[in-house]
Subunit: 588 residues, 2 copies
Amino acid sequence: MSHLSPLSASELSLLSAEERATGLRLACEAIIRGPLLVYVPAQSQRSQQTVRKTVTESAIPICPAVRKVSLKLSPATMDDGEGDADRLFKCLSEAHGLSNLHIDFCALRQLSDVLRQSNWQITATIWMDREVIAVEPSVSSMILGAAVDIGTTTIACYIADLATGKIIATESAMNPQVAYGEDVLSRIGFATQEPDGLKTLQSAIVGELNRLLVSATDEVGLKPEDIMDLVVVGNTTMHHLFLGLTPRYIGRSPFTPAIQRAANIKARELGVAVNRGAYVHLLPNEAGFVGADNVGVMIAEKPYLRDEVSLIIDIGTNGEILLGNKNRILSASCATGPAFEGAHIAFGMRAAPGAIERVRIDPATLEVLFKVIGKNEWQTLYSSEEIGARGICGSGIIDAIAEMFRCGIILKNGKMNTDLISPRIIVGRDSRPEFVLAWAQETAIGANITISTSDIRAVQLAKGALYCGAKILLKKYGVAVPDRVVLAGAFGSYIDKESALAIGLFPSCPIEQVHSVGNAAGKGALLALLNLNERAEAEHVVTAVEYVELAMEPDFEREFYQAMQFPHMIDPVASCTSRQVRKTQPIT
Amino acid sequence: MSHLSPLSASELSLLSAEERATGLRLACEAIIRGPLLVYVPAQSQRSQQTVRKTVTESAIPICPAVRKVSLKLSPATMDDGEGDADRLFKCLSEAHGLSNLHIDFCALRQLSDVLRQSNWQITATIWMDREVIAVEPSVSSMILGAAVDIGTTTIACYIADLATGKIIATESAMNPQVAYGEDVLSRIGFATQEPDGLKTLQSAIVGELNRLLVSATDEVGLKPEDIMDLVVVGNTTMHHLFLGLTPRYIGRSPFTPAIQRAANIKARELGVAVNRGAYVHLLPNEAGFVGADNVGVMIAEKPYLRDEVSLIIDIGTNGEILLGNKNRILSASCATGPAFEGAHIAFGMRAAPGAIERVRIDPATLEVLFKVIGKNEWQTLYSSEEIGARGICGSGIIDAIAEMFRCGIILKNGKMNTDLISPRIIVGRDSRPEFVLAWAQETAIGANITISTSDIRAVQLAKGALYCGAKILLKKYGVAVPDRVVLAGAFGSYIDKESALAIGLFPSCPIEQVHSVGNAAGKGALLALLNLNERAEAEHVVTAVEYVELAMEPDFEREFYQAMQFPHMIDPVASCTSRQVRKTQPIT
């Protein structure tokens, strides 16, 4: 029986046949009779959904580092021949009470022409009430900022209107440094061992950021020069590579960063092509392996304001964990590797059209339902040619492993159960068993898409690292389980929570206390962009957080070994019907 | 009779025959019996003389903007993993009481390696107790600064040891912008009308400065990277062109500079190749045509501390005048043109070997004695081939005109007296009379070196501009004559004061109250380099000085016309014997 009431008379009259075919229902008419996951179409949401690395928008009080002021100066005359900059400072002091100001050198170079072009009526952009960073002729109130999250694998950029706090454009791309090393350690190796390695990596990330800033501002008919402020977060290595600081000593004991505190650096010194006078603010780093991105997560989630103990897992190429409440916060870094981002997985790929992102396996027949990004329905609703699967992204991998474990295809120790007879269990190129998710004819690559034994191993290592890290922090903190779990990161927002629990990605917690918050690091950057108080808060909390070097903990190896195992099922089988899909349509 | 006692027995025994032949005497033995000018050999002076644009060294209290501190940091450990920069700040705070410090971005890039190379014992260079601008491994106390005077025609650069205040190297060169325009107005035209004009001029001056800094530091076995601080002065146009600020509005009424107040700009932003973290400090500008160079003159001469009324004339391509005492200071700018620097004079040349720098004419015979730079004696002591005159420099021109006027060759209105019969009075190429200073055979150019009617005109215009400016300021100030006259500028230090008085370069003043102080603008830059209090004083006095726009004065045209005339002789004829020559040897 369906968990939803049949279409009402009103729905039949108001919804088109096409809309009805997509499963669309009216919330005011449909009656829910059992567990159900509901998808709210983009057009009914407050803002359009954007692909991956989205941040959750919420009402952020606005108090940015930069502001524009309109000024009417008295023109220079023979009797009043004061210099242009001196005249500007005088006006800012008299009309806006701003004293002891400086002027950016590039702004100074423009000032004289701008004043006369605009008949002495200009708009000045002031940074931190300290420095005139730009001058424009005539009245201009549009003032943009960019929040940038530099991940090891991806880079995301949010353009905000600093007057309203609204995100007006979002862009993301691969971190081009991937070509020089997949993870943090290989990047450190490249930067420190190759000739001009650091410069190569710095130029690569800045070049990509500049491209993102062009396309993001272009979306809204503006230009990168309209960007007057930036906040950048990243793990400590990304932070250092972006600034051109050697990451050599982050990579070796005692893993010391070149700078922990927040930094303000002229964008032009870094080659970042925004307004010539703009600063880049970098949130502080916690430690060698817990960087400004985790500080971003912290101010976005603010576990330090809560009574409940939060376990916050930021899943990227590196996994970062925060545990605590208003009394105490611990942090740790886990070398998960890029398995969750599709790397080190035979058919792994980024979350892009064609990627298998959802998997369900029938325990009786071992038949597979999967959904690829770009299609709304499970693959069985399309002809073979239409499906066009190209690989598996992170959430698809978690789903597949969880389902294979649930159906007994994978054993507790991660080995494939070769006693099972199914055409989907085949012998791979390495003579070890593989499980076929998509048959060659269902793909765009003309080959079976499979999960291999070594794929399972990569996921075990990754999830083991996170689970073990969380366990050690819980023990140090003196609690058995967290009150709530927050999954952050591009990946966290697409993960199926039950599948994640099923494979043991994090210690057990009631499913309703598991929250996906999307790119919290990016959201933290955005908060710091929009509100100076958040920057102050970041500087404050970074000194309070206790960093735990997991590898130094006596329990580490034992915990890690145990965490690699697959756990007993907590919540044996939930009907496929109740699982999240992208439409309300139940799967039968 | 000689004005000097004959050689004593001691002198005969102590001085070599060669030394005696050069006229060398011992100050403890020789008895002076009449007017005499004494030349102190370079080796007996406190410092070696350098050619032109020298500054007068005096005891300057040292309080520079930069200082080096030696630090021993506690190494990072697993228990103390604080970031490198944070550790540095902590150490500077604990050991030196310096708080709220920043670190220059380029210094930050070096910090981690430097700390570890030097086993955590480093030297940090601190600017204004505000910013760490450089870090070096191990102990280093040598700290250099550069004072730079950018003139319209020449650029001079003094390298000082900021620990001792001693000038350790001096270099000067032509301002390469001369190729794009001889005076301030033609430079403004080039900068504002030619494509990339401003950029071309900015690059030219910075390129030349960089070459000077290399050769100056090379002289003393050091490198431009050892320079940690710079102070630059120049007239307002040179100031703007050096910074890449448009000089457009200095060139048109109301002649407003882009910035008057002092500025601190990172040298690297300007392309100045010194230490990457160093700042350039620019002294404030007084007005559109009285710039930071005049502020340099002011703090070097400090007329505002005196009871007597000083008239300070800084003679360059532009002439700048200061008049006043502790109660009030007036300033003005005079468009003298480059005649005093040898330009716009048919045989004019810079003060370089071969230039005629001294001239005496016998009123009876109209025969000429002259001295060229590079030779110690009047030309009559050399064979024709040895003389090698190439042209006339500024002091030679003043001497020549003064002597020609004294001997009646030039009339009061500047015309040549064609009633005189002399083989030296010839008809020039423009069919107007010329006076031959050097016969072709006495030159290295194979042609007579002459003073033409238009040369006299150029000098009249130049001296007229200065005289008229001084007269107008005196009138405004309410005094008839100044208590003292100070001649500043490269040219001022080589001028024959009596010749200058004779042609009416400045209003009459007792000759003993006329002082030549050399490159006072450069000395002011040096003071500001060595002592922060001088920078503060400059900022203060610049607001107190009253700038007078001469062309706006009702008397200007009449005064200028009168000032072009040659004056009645004040002190009819002084014997050649008493005139300054470069050796004590009297001329007979």
